[in-house]
């Protein structure tokens, strides 16, 4: 679904934010990008969205070499990728429903289809009763759920989340991770950049660790830190593991997932 081949990104000014990164992410995977601040996680996210161009290397998304995509086709790439950010990026003058509907309106979806899709996705993120509220009448967690609803309403192949829990307290973060997990179970490939140890350790999904722009570890079912936790007997009874997050604790099914 996503393949990076020796990708290097050098910003103007000389910062090397990605250094010879090669990665292969298959359809339906859930991948954490972890690493200290400034290690280059957001840069990878921006490269996947074609907000930045690679300096060297190739990126394939859904079988297409996006480093060669002409500028006018970039919007179509983005329609197949949902994005969630730390700062939500909601429009403060629009209600919850309008914010979500906006994502469909601006790609020219017919009005009739929009209404039902918005209802469905708000139900999915548990905001079916708050559709008429404005963003500043919501808690941070609720705002992030709106932003996830907007990212997912078009049923993208891929969901990119850059520090989606960065502004949220741990309990609220759990709720967000449940939704991302649910979206992933519907078949959507999820890539999430984070430096939140607790979440990574609790989820036990594939972990790609980045440091100074380089991939330093790529581990299935990994934790935030290298090996240590992984080798503990029976999968580390760390406190984080008690969060009701592990893939088996919760097997919701998504409505209308046939698309």
């Amino acid at each position: 679904m996503i393949r990076l081949d020796s990708v290097t990104k050098v910003y103007k000014g000389g910062t090397v934010a990605a250094r010879d990164v090669s990665l292969n992410i298959r359809r339906g995977e859930f991948v954490f990008l972890v690493g200290p601040s400034g290690s280059g996680k957001s840069t990878l996210v921006r490269l996947l969205l074609r907000q930045e161009m690679v300096t060297r290397g190739t990126i394939w998304v859904a079988g297409k070499d996006i480093t060669r995509l002409p500028a006018w086709k970039v919007p179509y790439l983005r329609r197949s990728i949902g994005t969630v950010f730390q700062d939500f990026k909601l429009l403060s003058t629009k209600t919850v429903s309008e914010n979500v509907a906006f994502a469909l309106e601006v790609i020219g979806r017919p009005r009739s289809a929009i209404r039902s899709q918005v209802e469905q996705v708000l139900e999915l993120v548990g905001l079916e009763d708050l559709g008429g509220r404005l963003p500043d009448q919501l808690s941070g967690g609720e705002q992030q759920r709106v932003s996830i609803a907007r990212a997912f309403v078009n049923r993208p192949l891929i969901l990119l989340a850059d520090e989606p829990t960065g502004n949220l307290d741990p309990t609220t973060s759990v709720g967000i991770m449940r939704i991302l997990d649910r979206i992933n179970r519907s078949g959507t490939t999820v890539v999430m950049a984070t430096h939140d140890h607790a979440i990574v350790n609790a989820m036990r999904r594939r972990v790609v660790a980045i440091d100074k722009g380089q991939v330093v570890r790529d581990e299935r079912g990994g934790g935030f830190e290298k090996a240590r936790e992984a080798v503990e007997p029976n999968g580390a009874p760390s406190p984080q593991q008690n969060l009701p997050l592990s893939p088996d604790s919760d097997k919701p099914t998504l409505p209308h997932m046939d698309s």
């Binding site: 969205l49 919007p75 983005r78 906006f102 020219g108 009005r111």
Partner: protein
């Protein structure tokens, strides 16, 4: 269809949000096109009143009709060739009686009553003479006046010189000012677009993120500029048209010159100017978009 309504709605929201700057841009288009259109109208008035001169005629010799002791039509043509052979004369154009009546009708197209009472046969044939140099008009005029087949000679030497100076100055002023103002209108419109982009940077950023096509993002801004340009142009056309109509009613009292410009002229140039206003609006928008849309991060 729904998409079009959405886009038009967005551009109207833009216009309302920066109403003051938008008004400035509209006024700039309005003033510049009013000046340009005014220059065109003055030009047309001069043309209508000086049709003979504008074609390079410096002297008109009206010829006697045969029953007044003049030449018949065939001999008049031969006479034209004779005059053409004069050294000072560049060229001579012969207008027969029918041609004279046609010209009369054009000049006084706004005064049907005048045309009605005029007998087509009374208008004389004439020679329209263009000189090698305008300075030579006295000699030629003198020689023609002495010829018995000529009824009357009119020379426009001085008037031509004065009028062509006035019309040149008016034209340069009108077009120059409207060019300068037209350019500033483009810049003002591009500023309203920049402001609109700034006011809507969050929306634009989200649109880019969720994959709105480039044209979808641009169209509301282009429409905004287009509306500003067209509104300014329509105001200019209406203003000049109303002014010319008032001028026309004034002209009724002045004999022999016409201040009436046919509606056809206004319609043709009105359409041209509105299209021009639309172009100015779109050009301003494109300028604003090219300067600022990229800066909105996505």
């Amino acid at each position: 269809m729904g998409r079009m309504i959405f886009l038009i709605g967005e551009s109207l929201v833009n216009l309302r949000r920066n109403a003051l700057v938008a008004t400035g841009a509209i006024l700039a288009v309005f003033i510049s096109l009013t000046l340009a259109f005014g220059a065109l109208v003055v030009n047309e008035l001069l043309r209508l009143n000086t049709i003979g001169w504008q074609q390079g005629t410096h002297i008109i010799a009206f010829l006697k009709d045969p029953d007044q002791g003049g030449l018949d039509a065939a001999s008049q043509v031969a006479y034209r060739d004779e005059v053409m052979a004069w050294e000072e004369v560049e060229t001579v154009h012969y207008v027969d009686k029918a041609g004279a009546y046609e010209e009369f009708k054009e000049i006084f197209s706004s005064r049907p009553e005048l045309i009605e009472v005029t007998d087509p046969l009374k208008l004389p044939a004439s020679l329209r003479i263009e000189l090698q140099s305008i300075d030579l008009y006295r000699d030629v005029q003198f020689r023609l006046s002495a010829d018995p087949v000529v009824r009357e000679v009119r020379s426009f030497g001085e008037q031509i010189e004065q009028l062509s100076t006035i019309s040149r100055v008016l034209n340069v002023l009108g077009w120059g000012l409207s060019l300068v103002l037209g350019l500033s209108a483009i810049i003002l419109i591009s500023n309203t677009i920049s402001l609109a982009i700034y006011a809507r940077r969050n929306e634009v950023s989200v649109m880019k993120l969720v994959g709105a096509s480039n044209w979808f993002i641009r169209v509301p801004f282009l429409l905004e500029g287009l509306i500003e340009g067209v509104v300014g142009a329509v105001m200019a056309v209406l203003t000049v048209w109303l002014a010319a109509r008032n001028l026309n009613s004034l002209g009724e009292t002045i004999q022999l010159i016409t201040l009436n410009i046919p509606a056809r002229f206004f319609f043709r140039w009105g359409v041209v100017l509105v299209l021009f206003g639309a172009t100015v609006g779109v050009a301003g928008s494109l300028l604003g978009l090219s300067r600022h849309l990229r800066e909105v991060d996505s």
